[in-house]
Amino acid sequence: MAETLRIINGRVYDPINGIDGEVRDICISGAKIVESVPKGGKTIDAQGMVVMPGGVDIHCHIAGPKVNLARKVQPEDHRYDVHPRTAFTRSGTGGTVPSSFTTGYRYTTLGYTTAMEAAVPPIGARHALEELRDTPVIDKGFYVLLGNNLLLYQLLSEGRHEEFLNAVAWWIKACKAYTLKIVNPGSDVPWKTKNNANITGVNEQIGDYELTPRKVVKALIDAANTLGLPHPAHIHCNNLGHSGNVATTLETMAAAEGERAHITHVQFHSFGGQLGKNPISAASKISEFVDANPNISCDVGQVMFGKSTVMTADAPLAYLLRNYTKDRRWVNADTECESGCGIVPFSYQEHVYTHTLQWGIGLELFLLAKDPWRMVLSTDHPNGGSFMSYPRLIRLLMDRTFRNEEIRKVNRKAMRKTVLLDDIEREYSLQEIAIVTRAGPARLLGLKDKGHLGVGADADITIYEEDDDKELMFSAPRYVIKDGRAIIENHEFRTDHEGRILHVAPAYDPDIEKTLRPFFDSYYSLQFDNYAVSDHYAPGAQVIPTGK
C-alpha cells in the first residue's frame, strides 16, 4: 500500500488545469497525484499558504564538462559560500557554480523540482549524466549540442537528408539527451580554422560547406519535429551580445517557417543599435514577433546584478568577453568534430550601461509579453546570474513599487533606451508566476506529468507561506514535496532523494552506423563502440516518448 499524503486548506495555483487560487485539497498516493486518499493518512494543513506545482527550469547550466571547468577555475567563488552537510544531506559549496549536491539541494530550497542542463557536447554526455546522478532531489536532463557537428554538416551539405535525420536521432539516443541544442550555428568552423573568427549572420557561408546558419537551423528544427521530440530544437542564435543582433534573431525565428522552435535566453539576442556602437533595446520587436508567431517559444535569460559566470558553447563570445573583465582567467575548450566552449568569470554592475540595458531588456520582455506561456523565466544560470536570484526576479515582476525603486538605482542612460521609465503598470499575478516558472516550462518541454496538480501528475509540489515580500516568499517554501515525499518540512530538509534522469530515445535506421563508423574511425580520438552511453549511466531513468 503506497504512502498517502493530503494537502488541505491551501490556495492552489494550477494554470494548466485552470485553477487560480481556489482553496482545495490535493491528494497524493505514492509518487502521483490522485483523486482521493483514504482518511487518516498523513496531512499537511496549508492554511494561509500557496500551493503550486514544483518549479521547472527549462534552461540552466548545472552539469557536464564546461560546468566542471567553471567550478574548478573559481575556488574563490566557493570559499565564502559553503553548504554544510546535515544528517540527511551531503555537503558542498555554492557561488555561481555550485557543486553538484548543492545544486540539487538549493533548487529544492527554492521549490524547484525539475531542471534541464542546456548544453552538453555529445562526447561529454557520459560526464553530464555522472554529474546529474550526483545532483539530488530534482528530476533532470540535458540538451545535446548538434549545431556545429561536422558530420551532420557534411551530410546536410551533400543533401543526404535521410542519413542526416537518422544521424540526429542516433546522436540524441546515444547520448540519452532530452532534445537537441543549437549554439551559434556555424561558428566553430571559423573559430577553429580562421584565427578565432566568428560567424556574423544567418546567411553567411560556413567555411567550405554549402551551408549557412539558416540552413543548419531549419534542418535541425525539422529533424526535431519529424522525430517528434517532446521539446523542439533549443536555439542559441548567432551574434549573441552584439549590437543590432535583433535582426539575426528575427531572421532565425523566421527560418523556422512556422515549425515549432525554442529561442533561448532571448534577452541576449534583443539588442538594437549598430554593430560596434552601444546597444539599445529591441525588446518590443522580439515581443511582437513572438506574440504573432505561436510556433515560437522563448525563455528570457534575465540578467541579475552581481557575480555571474559566463559559460557557453559559444566560444567566440567568451573570447570576446575576456577583454571586458579585469579577471585574468579565460577558459576555452575545443571538442573534436562537435563543439567547443568558453568560460569567463563575470559580474553585472548597476553603473555599467550595457549591463543595465540587459537587465532592462529582460524585464521588458517579461512585461510586454502577451502570452507568458511562451516567454518563460530563466537567467541562463549562471550566465545572467545564479538561479538563486529567481525570487528577487519574481519580486521585480510582481511588485511595481519595488521595481520602480530598483530602476531608479541603475544606469539612467541605459534605462532611457527602454520603456521601463514610463512606470509600466503590469504586475505579474501568482497565477502568471506559476505559468512562467512551472506550467509554461513543463508544457514547452512536453512533460505531461509535470507543471500541474491534476490527477496523474507527478507529486512534485511546493507550498509557500504568503508574504507581501515576494522575494522572501519565493526564497523559502515551507514545504517541498518530490515524488510524494516531503523533502522539506517547515523549511528544513527531512530526508534525501535522488530524482530521475529524463531523456528521449528516438528510433533510427541501424544502417546509419555504416555512415557514422568510418567518420569516427577517421576523425575521432576514441572508438565508435565506446562512444554511445550505456544504461549504466542513467539507472531508473524516465524515457519520455517521442513521435506524433
Binding site: A63, P65, V67, N68, R71, K72, V73, Q74, P75, H78, R79, V82, P84, R85, A87, R90, S91, G92, T93, G95, V97, P98, S99, S100, F101, T102, I123, G124, R126, H127, E130, E131, D134, W191, K192, T193, N195, N196, Y319, R328, R329, W330, V331, N332, A333, D334, T335, E336, C337, I343, S522, Y523, Y524, S525, L526, Q527, D529, N530, S534, H536
Partner: protein, 437 residues
C-alpha cells in the same frame, strides 16, 4: 587446455597512463585468468595487461594477519569514524564509481580527501585557477594541430602512444599527411628518447623554464626582454624569436607539458606561465595547451572531486563543508607536518614515492590500504584490502587526460572485490557509526 577458452575483447581500454587508449584488442585465457596477447598497444600497455596475472593473496589483512572482508571493513570503519584528522589519498588508479564513495566517506567523517594530482599536475591545477586555460580534446590535435610543442616531458617513455595515436603521426581532417603536416618542437633540459621525433629541440638550462616561457610571453606580446636571455636560459634570442613567430603564425598550435614544469622550482608558476602563453597566442591564432596527465584516471579524480566539492584536490571536510588550500590540505603537507591521525590509501603507494618525513608519519598512524598488489604502503598498513584491478577485472568509467570519459571493459573476473565494493561497504558502516556517535 585453456585453448578452447581463448576469448577476445575488442575496444578494451588501457588505464596505465593518461592516454587511456580505448582501441586495445585483448586475447584472454579465462581459465588461467591471463591476458595472453594485446594488439594496438605500447610497451607500457603490454606490461600492464600481460603482467597482470593476479597474485595469490588473502582478500584482507589486519596487522599483517589474514582476515575476513567483513572484519577488515569493520576495523577500517572504526579507525575512520574515530579519527580526528583522517586523510584519504590516491584514487587515480581506480574508477570514478569508486572515487565517488571515497569522497562520500571523507564527507561523512569530516576528513580530508586528496588525489595523486597533488604530486602530479596539482601545480597546473593551481595555475589554472589563476589564468584559466585554452585547451582541447586529443582529437582536435589529431585533426588540426600543425605546430606541436612538448615542454618538460618525455612522452616517448611516459606516454608512448601520444605521438602515434594523437599528436604527431595521425592523419586528421586538416592534417591529411600526418607527420608531414606538423612541425614538432621539444623543450627539455636533456636529450630524452623523445628528442628524435622533434624538428626543433631546445635544450633549456635546468630550472630555467619559467624565464624561457616568460621571455616568450614578452616576445609574443611585443614587450621588451633583456639581452642576456641566452646566458639565463641557454637559448639564443634569435631561436626564441623564431619560435615566437612560428607560434604566432601557425594555424592551430598546441603546447603539451609535463612534470618538468610542475616538479621544479616555481611549480605552479611554471605551469601558469605556459598556460598564459597559450592564451596570449590566441590574439594571433588558435592556440591550446594541455598538461600530459600520468595515471589512468587521475583526470577522473579531478573531475569527481570537483563536481562533488567544488575543488579539484586537497579538500578538507573537518568543518562539515569542503575547503581547499594546497599546501595546507594536500597529502605531503598534512603528513610531513604530522597532522593526520589516520590515513586511507586507495590504489597508490606513497610509502615508495613520498618525501621521507611524510613516510615517517605514515608509519606512526593507522593506515588502510586498497590495492591489487602488495606495496610498500600495504606492508605498513593496519588494514590492507586486496582489490580487483580496474580495466582488467572491474568495469566502470575513467577520464582521459583531456577530460573525455571512457568506459572500461573487463578481460576476466577477479576473486577479489572492487575498490567500489569495499569503499561502499566502509561508507555504509561509517554512516552508522557517525549517526550513533
Amino acid at each position: 587446455m585453456g585453448e578452447e577458452n581463448l576469448h577476445v575483447v575488442e575496444n578494451a581500454t588501457c588505464t596505465f597512463c593518461g592516454c587511456v587508449c580505448d582501441d586495445q584488442i585483448l586475447t584472454v585465457d579465462r581459465d588461467a585468468k591471463r591476458i595472453t596477447k594485446v594488439k594496438n598497444t605500447c610497451a607500457l600497455g603490454r606490461a600492464w595487461f600481460t603482467e597482470h596475472a593476479h597474485e595469490e593473496r588473502p582478500v584482507a589483512l589486519i596487522d599483517g594477519k589474514e582476515a575476513s572482508l567483513e572484519d577488515a571493513v569493520e576495523t577500517a570503519a572504526q579507525i575512520l569514524a574515530e579519527a580526528r584528522y583522517p586523510i584519504t589519498y590516491g584514487l587515480s588508479d581506480t574508477t570514478c564509481e569508486a572515487q565517488r564513495h571515497a569522497i562520500a566517506i571523507s564527507d561523512v567523517i569530516g576528513g580530508t580527501i586528496d588525489t595523486t594530482t597533488s604530486v602530479c599536475h596539482g601545480p597546473s591545477g593551481i595555475a589554472f585557477e589563476g589564468v584559466g586555460e585554452s585547451t582541447c580534446t586529443l582529437g582536435e590535435i589529431k585533426n588540426r594541430a600543425d605546430l606541436v610543442i612538448f615542454w618538460g616531458g618525455n612522452p616517448a617513455e611516459s606516454h608512448p602512444r601520444l605521438f602515434a595515436r594523437y599528436a604527431i603521426m595521425p592523419k586528421g581532417m586538416f592534417t591529411p599527411n600526418g607527420r608531414k603536416d606538423r612541425t614538432v618542437v621539444l623543450v627539455d633540459v636533456r636529450k630524452t628518447k623523445s628528442a628524435p621525433v622533434a624538428d626543433i629541440f631546445l635544450q633549456v638550462k635546468p630550472g630555467r623554464d619559467f624565464e624561457l616561457l616568460w621571455a616568450l610571453r614578452a616576445l609574443v606580446r611585443g614587450g621588451r626582454i633583456s639581452g642576456d636571455i641566452e646566458e639565463i636560459t641557454g637559448i639564443p634570442l634569435e631561436t626564441l624569436k623564431d619560435l615566437a613567430e612560428r607560434m604566432k603564425n601557425c594555424r592551430y598550435g598546441v603546447l603539451l607539458f609535463g612534470m618538468g614544469l610542475t616538479m621544479t622550482r616555481g611549480r605552479h608558476f611554471n605551469s601558469g606561465a605556459l598556460l598564459a602563453l597559450a592564451s596570449d597566442l590566441n590574439d594571433f591564432t588558435h592556440f591550446v595547451a594541455k598538461p600530459v596527465r600520468g595515471h589512468g584516471n587521475v583526470t577522473g579524480a579531478d573531475n569527481v572531486v570537483s563536481w562533488q566539492t567544488g575543488f579539484p584536490f586537497g579538500v578538507n571536510f573537518s568543518r562539515g563543508y569542503p575547503r581547499f588550500n594546497p599546501g595546507e590540505f594536500t597529502t605531503v603537507d598534512v603528513l610531513s607536518r604530522g597532522e593526520a591521525d589516520a590515513a586511507m590509501i586507495v590504489a597508490s603507494d606513497p610509502a615508495s614515492n613520498f618525501p621521507g618525513p611524510a613516510i615517517e608519519h605514515l608509519k606512526k598512524i593507522p593506515v588502510i590500504v586498497l590495492d591489487p598488489k602488495e606495496t610498500m604502503t600495504s606492508r605498513l598498513a593496519k588494514v590492507a584490502f586486496t582489490t580487483a584491478t580496474y580495466g582488467i577485472s572491474v568495469p566502470g568509467t575513467v577520464y582521459r587526460m583531456d577530460d573525455v570519459p571512457i568506459p572500461l571493459r573487463t578481460a576476466f573476473d577477479s576473486p577479489y572485490p572492487s575498490d567500489q565494493e569495499v569503499l561502499s561497504a566502509i561508507e555504509a558502516r561509517v554512516r552508522d557509526l557517525r549517526a550513533a556517535a
